[in-house]
């Protein structure tokens, strides 16, 4: 289920790290790699797999096994993402790394911040830039709200707010996020995260693959998780 809308990217002439990425963050991964001058090839899987998380580990395993058999260096730009440990099984079987955390919200805002957000209001529905941009496709259509608009209450009736973890500064998304909140009948709050959480996680993966002797300690990296929050 490769998402062909997201092109792969190969930078510089160094050894390439093949990154199997969730479609929801693949373009951010590409942007960060470009910014940092990393040599990566991105294999984006459809973000819609999140609604069928039991399929994610198998998809990742298939691609990773093939790439490894071709002698490639591989990393996984997925968090646990509702696989409930299955993706860890694949990563440990194949000896590859993934982004830490339960989902991309942890990656963007930090685990502690997400815990705080849900502690302060459990009825929080989170958005990322990707979700705002693709809300019609990934949520409205997938959850059947286009065919059965009345289901909005069944899905979101218990929620109290929409909280947008805003990574970028695309002004066109502001109005879209408002529209999403309006559609759900909830107030919108915005929390600026930037993409440095993802950058930090990717740096760990990248360095782990390239550093002599494998593991690189967090302190050796230029970024500090939590630096922007």
């Amino acid at each position: 289920m490769i998402d062909s809308s997201i092109n792969s990217l190969s930078v510089s002439d160094g050894r390439v790290l093949d990154i199997i990425a969730c479609g929801a963050i693949a373009s951010s991964v590409r942007e960060i790699a470009k910014r940092r001058g990393w040599s990566v090839e991105i294999h984006a899987l459809s973000a819609l797999l999140h609604d069928r998380p039991e399929k994610i580990a198998n998809e990742v395993e298939g691609i990773a096994s093939r790439l490894i058999s071709e002698g490639k260096w591989v990393a996984v730009a997925y968090a646990d993402c509702g696989t409930y440990g299955e993706i860890d099984r694949v990563c440990s079987d194949l000896g590859i790394g993934r982004l830490s955390g339960l989902h991309c919200y942890d990656v963007f805002a930090g685990k502690t911040m997400i815990e705080k957000i849900f502690d302060s209001e459990p009825g929080t529905y989170l958005l990322t830039d990707f979700l705002v941009r693709s809300f019609n496709k990934t949520v409205v259509k997938e959850l059947g709200l286009d065919r059965f608009p009345e289901l909005v209450w069944d899905y979101f009736g218990q929620y109290k707010r929409v909280l947008w973890l805003k990574q970028g500064s695309d002004p066109s998304l502001d109005a879209k996020a408002e529209e999403v909140a309006e559609l759900l009948g909830l107030p919108l709050e915005v929390f600026e995260t930037t993409d440095s959480g993802l950058e930090y996680e990717l740096e760990k993966l990248y360095c782990n693959n390239y550093a002599d002797g494998g593991t690189v300690k967090d302190t050796e990296m230029s970024l500090t998780a939590g630096s922007t929050w």
């Binding site: 409930y84 502690d119 959850l143 059947g144 059965f148 899905y155 218990q158």
Partner: protein
């Protein structure tokens, strides 16, 4: 329309979640002498079971489950008082809720519908139910089974917190504890000391019946 035709149509209408047609056919069935039990056990429940099977196979997704469940629940509203009149004893009392911190409730609501359809009295405490509210409700309603539902990795540990709260309140031996929700497995249920687990709504009904039966035998 013959009885068989009506049951077949009711089955099909439930399957696609055609709520107005389900209500119409339920009323029509009753008016033409079809018993509430027949409508329930020969059309509505098998249809919702098929919805569950299609979801498992990936032919249906959440919205299809939801609209079918809502249609069946409308039919149950009509049938409930009639089933009560027939004097059929309830199989047992089932108290259920989504644990504290979690707002997912679609799966839980489907479990409710299937339990009710199978003859359970269901008390649903809703979402984000804290341990003390479960304890209070168990004291008040004295259910045979309490069911905890959770969908997030971060809220699953509430199962154990709830069980501890029941122990502390001296209620653990008085009630069967069942757990469920997308991330839950039999292994996990065993590890936290729950009595039962089921992967879907039909399984929840089956397992609850078994556990109640076992408890009755053990008490003899």
């Amino acid at each position: 329309m013959t009885q068989d035709e009506l049951l077949k149509e009711l089955y099909d209408a439930t399957l696609v979640g055609n709520q107005p047609r389900v209500i119409e056919l339920t009323n029509e069935g009753l008016n033409t002498g079809v018993t509430p039990e027949t409508l329930l056990f020969d059309a509505l429940i098998p249809s919702l079971e098929e919805v569950g099977a299609r979801f498992e196979r990936g032919d249906f997704f959440v919205p299809e489950m939801l609209i079918a469940g809502k249609a069946m629940s409308k039919a149950l509203e009509i049938l409930r008082p009639l089933l009560a009149e027939t004097g059929v004893e309830t199989i047992g009392k089932f108290l259920i809720g989504t644990v504290k911190g979690d707002v997912h409730d679609i799966g839980k609501n489907l479990v409710d519908i299937m339990l009710e359809g199978a003859g359970f009295e269901v008390i649903d405490l809703g979402v984000q139910v804290p341990p003390e509210k479960f304890v209070e409700a168990i004291r008040e309603h004295e259910p045979d089974v309490v069911g905890f539902s959770a969908f997030l990795t971060t809220t699953m540990p509430m199962f154990k917190v709830n069980i501890n709260a029941l122990e502390k309140a001296g209620l653990r031996e008085k009630v069967i504890v069942m757990v469920g929700g997308a991330p839950v497995t039999q292994e996990y249920a065993d590890s936290i000391g729950a009595d039962g687990y089921a992967a879907d709504a039909s399984g929840a009904v089956k397992r609850a019946k078994e556990l109640i039966h076992q408890r009755a035998l053990a008490r003899r």
